[in-house]
Assembly symmetry: C2
Homo-oligomer: 505 residues x 2
Amino acid sequence: MSLLFTPLAIRSMTLPNRIVLPAMVTRLSGEDGVVNDDIRARYVRYAKGGAGLIVVEAMAVHQSKSGPLLRISSDDFAPGLADLATRCHDAGPGKVVPQIIHFLKISRSGWRQTVDMLSAQEIDDIVDAYGTAAARARACGFDGVELHMAHAYTLSSFLSRLNPRRDAYGGTLENRLRLPVRVIERVRASVGGDFPVGVRFLGEECIRNGYTPVEAGPIAVRLARAGADYISLSAGGKFEDARHIPGEPLYPYTGYSGDRCMPGSNYPDGANLYIPEAVRACVRAAGLETPIVAAGKIGSLELAEKVIERGQGDLIGMARALLADPDLPKKWQRGREEAVVRCVYGNVCKALDENFRRVDCTLWPKKLGQAPESEDTVPPEWPASGAELTAEYKDGRVLVRWKSATDNEQMYGYQVFRAEGADAPLTHFASTRSASSRFEDPRVIGGETYSYALRPYDLAGNRGAMTPRVTVVVPIEHVPAADPVHLQIAKDPGAVEGCAVVTGR
Amino acid sequence: MSLLFTPLAIRSMTLPNRIVLPAMVTRLSGEDGVVNDDIRARYVRYAKGGAGLIVVEAMAVHQSKSGPLLRISSDDFAPGLADLATRCHDAGPGKVVPQIIHFLKISRSGWRQTVDMLSAQEIDDIVDAYGTAAARARACGFDGVELHMAHAYTLSSFLSRLNPRRDAYGGTLENRLRLPVRVIERVRASVGGDFPVGVRFLGEECIRNGYTPVEAGPIAVRLARAGADYISLSAGGKFEDARHIPGEPLYPYTGYSGDRCMPGSNYPDGANLYIPEAVRACVRAAGLETPIVAAGKIGSLELAEKVIERGQGDLIGMARALLADPDLPKKWQRGREEAVVRCVYGNVCKALDENFRRVDCTLWPKKLGQAPESEDTVPPEWPASGAELTAEYKDGRVLVRWKSATDNEQMYGYQVFRAEGADAPLTHFASTRSASSRFEDPRVIGGETYSYALRPYDLAGNRGAMTPRVTVVVPIEHVPAADPVHLQIAKDPGAVEGCAVVTGR
């Protein structure tokens, strides 16, 4: 029996399964903060796929200059939000909650407002803004509300161990908790006792002198006692170690803490799981049953089930995996895991956000702007003569080529599997779009042997047969070419194929 | 059957068990680099305790100015080293290998020499120096040699993803590996085929754009193929994110990567285990049986056994736990885990090193300068009237007091257990020396309830009865006092009691 597809009740809402879409920036809204067609299409698509809980990307509780960002700061935004909630409910079984956020000011000089610059009145205003926005979320027909206390934003900066205030709102853990607790209490008073209120905060700051899971445990206990109905844990994403690009505002995912926030292909699967594991243990030891959302490169059914089985989390957060294939929950539930279009954690989506571009998945068919939809079940086929897969070393990289596969409906892409060695097990290394019938791999070491194999997949994710493996020896005198993937990202992230190793320099 | 006490053969040496003392700075040697009485006493003490492999602290392969540091850079140092090897062999069953290191220059201005400043000749000299030093290690009677390729030192800086060279020694992974591979090959040629050569390197750099376990896997494979007989994995400890204190040379353990290198009480046990797990899987997939040393806050028998059982490592590295109680291996093997004087990971030892002081364990009896020795088996006893444990809130902290326990031989200290809440399970929170009959806990949150209990222990680590728990409610209007532990460390790390929360600010 699948733990993942066991419903979970959180106050007045019952999630049909344990799969959560955490809030993920899309840059699809305009500067006006109003829900538009692109936003609607994106979230309706997620709803169709069957995720148990859909957290709509952060929307501001206050009026403050920013780039494209949804807003929930006045009743002007309510009709669009109410319509979004209705459409998502009509499209699928999942529950829908907006994430609401307060952030401080930043400028292109690299300057940023810090929490010690806030007056007592400004702090009270934050509490008011959260309370009003949460009531508005309820009035709009959402199933609950999530308070953003993670990453580089206001409430997270209060919780931070680097909170520089020396009054009742900073210094000790108790003081750092004061504003977040006030916000939860106000939100609870404002939405009533039955409406689910979640909190997303950092289980580890991943910066020098930042807090770690051992302190996140008591923080979670306190937030739960104050009224949080679920705790969603993230990591890192701080301003303190961000790299400042002259002329650009600080982007809090450019430092090591940003790497840890969205662990890419250079991290093992589930690398952050020690965080929810420790926090959940502390919450349970305090006698609380608050569900914990674990996240961070959990992309396979096997790992997701294990997380719940081992008690590392009650809910599984997956942003990038659901961006790549919103139908993942439906496919997992139907026993069709093989038909999932697997995220390769190349973090092209992260690079798009960092470059202030619309956040799409690089695996999607070009120009579609959305994950494709298909209920087809017939897999692609190789030509009668086979894929004729070859791999040769050329110009400082391995060049893999093949004959195109065909599909009854439409081809989508190829999964590239690689192994280090002639006999080592193949693992999913990259994916490439169907228009390609070649793949270049610059991430090789002179003197080593590499094996490659390929599987084609169609729009519905149906995967064709694995090719036989081909092997290539990289000459010891290998002179590597400049890494084209990295250069492409710098120039035009949207042009990059889904490669597992795009984080290379 | 204990996996931990299963012998392991590595070329000509057979380790009696899987417990490894990784190289740990002591600051016990003089500036002359010669083995002295303090060094001898420290390592003989470890040998007596029964660790399977004792890695003697890093000793320089070259002549270069530094603080107190052992040297193996000329035959002048050989008699002292040979004597050290003999004494350790006489004292216990463990094998003994020196860690040999090359480092670059640093100055008090914060300037540091980087690998791109090295000429081709200087690189050749590094290869020569390692080869000669390794042969000397063999001649001195050590059982093997360990090459230091971790943290902020020369070979690690070549392996680093931030290696700035643009010639054959930098840029791609292959180029970054070139010098480390040359060093291993030279060492192998110089010591012969039967002599064990280990390598310690970083499984994750824990800095922005640094490499991660996914790249450490292929690095380990390459180093093993070049001749490394075991791979010992560390994390972090880099110059790149170190904090520069004006007038002091950079110390590479002051940044976030330093926190990760020696995860303190603010990290869950075994927080770094995803690193050796991923690297070992890659090494095994390549068909290699090279043993992997896992490390990072593994201090309990249960966790150590699990690590081996789960395939996260073949050997368990424990520096701080063995510093606290060198007899840990012997006690574990005899089924006397309860008698281990448990490290609280307060990292006072790390702070001592950072302040250029002799590295002792703060749990040791004052002025002993060494872990005590006793074979006594009679535990301490509370007075007939009981411990009379009390906990009260006073002056911004919880003050815990009790009546002293007594012992047939000599009291050593008290373990302080704490729980957040009146019923939550108690966990080991701090230890305090026997002269104290009070403990101050400033790490509390207003409005929360805390429970405390105590166990006394004697010189042999025999633990007396746990007191009944006492409970205290911290008033909601709690105004925390300045954190005395942090202030004490800044002023005089040696004066600090062994507290699990010394990393607080």
